[in-house]
């Protein structure tokens, strides 16, 4: 699953598929692209990933400048063509990588949850089963919603946990804010960004 911004970028023709050295981006598509980029950057800033937000924004600015330079209707020089191609490719890869790490459309949490999420927060006293389930869920792409059965299949055979117990664990993780069911109670769960962060703090 890709973010709105990633989808907008993918709609831009690949380098080499242009006419007259200009990408075929009409006004409406440009508006969508600008809006999607702004949304992603703002959300990343709110989530505390200011460096990442600025990196994406700089890459996007570079791409916009390159398109402007190449949009004069004349054939572009090699340097200008490289700038446009390279900035677009880099931007696509960066946004795709962000989507893989933070979810397709990274969104800031509610203010009350952010207050609790202090960088100095001690790792919680999780049970062994909770840790096993969290580690198993962390192996999946953040965009995938997992059923208890799916988690059970993926757990190391040496650490078997029943589907029923997994369901109880996921419910508890949901209460703690470490898992979420973005499409309702019957559509599977995934770890939240907070859950993944807490997992990293837990010593092996």
């Amino acid at each position: 699953m890709r973010s709105s911004f990633a989808e907008s970028l993918r709609a831009i023709p690949a380098p080499g598929a242009r006419r007259d050295g200009r990408p075929m981006i009409d006004g409406e598509r440009w508006d969508r692209l600008l809006a999607a980029e702004a949304e992603m950057v703002v959300n990343l800033e709110i989530m505390g990933y200011s460096g990442l937000a600025q990196r994406i924004d700089r890459k996007f600015s570079r791409f916009c400048q390159a398109v402007t330079q190449n949009s004069g209707g004349e054939s572009s020089g090699a340097a200008a063509a490289f700038e446009q191609d390279d900035s677009l490719t880099e931007l696509k890869h960066l946004v795709e990588a962000t989507g893989r790490r933070l979810g397709a459309d990274p969104e800031p949490k509610e203010a009350s949850q952010r207050e609790v999420e202090d960088e100095d927060e001690l790792p919680p006293a999780l049970t062994a089963n909770q840790i096993i389930v969290m580690r198993t869920m962390a192996r999946f792409d953040p965009s995938q919603l997992l059923s208890a059965a799916r988690i059970e299949e993926a757990i190391d055979p040496s650490r078997r946990i029943s589907v029923r117990t997994i369901g109880d664990v996921v419910r508890r993780l949901h209460e703690l804010g470490y898992a979420e069911r973005p499409e309702g109670d019957r559509r599977g769960a995934r770890l939240t960004t907070r859950g993944r962060r807490i997992l990293r703090k837990i010593a092996d």
Binding site: L52, R55, F82, L102, R196, L199
Partner: protein, 138 residues
């Protein structure tokens, strides 16, 4: 011996491509696939661009913007050389020393690879191992 860091794995992949280019002396771009289709330098390195982006994102998430920038800078010259290679913008030229051989387009690509690998290797030595904890979990 500790497992290689993701950055180590990345520049080792670059080193593998370098070996491939050197061993085939440019023929890597003349053959590919079942029908010996011409493949581009961009195609040869596209997966590594995704890898470089992932490393940058991870380092930004760990609050190490400067290290992320170094990865970007280290690969910038390589990306430009790759582009020029595919767009016939590279020309063979004589090295600065009168004893140097002519540097072919493939030589220039290898030179750019060497520069990138060297910088990434230096960077790897400066990043503590715990920065990479959890990188391969997701």
């Amino acid at each position: 011996m500790p497992d290689p860091s993701p950055l180590t794995r990345f520049f080792l992949q670059l080193a593998e491509r370098r070996k491939l280019l050197q061993s085939q002396d440019g023929r890597a771009f003349a053959t590919g696939g079942e029908d010996n289709e011409l493949i581009s330098a961009e195609a040869l390195f596209d997966d590594l661009r995704a890898g470089a982006a992932d490393l940058q994102v991870w380092l930004e998430m760990q609050g190490r913007s400067e290290d992320a920038s170094e990865i970007d800078d280290a690969t910038a010259s390589l990306r430009e050389t790759i582009w020029k290679f595919d767009h016939d913008e590279l020309q063979p030229y004589l090295g600065p020393d009168e004893r140097d051989d002519v540097l072919s387009e493939t030589d220039q690509l290898i030179e750019a690879l060497d520069e990138a690998i060297g910088r990434l290797e230096d960077l790897d030595g400066e990043i503590p191992d715990d920065v990479w904890r959890g990188y391969d979990d997701a």
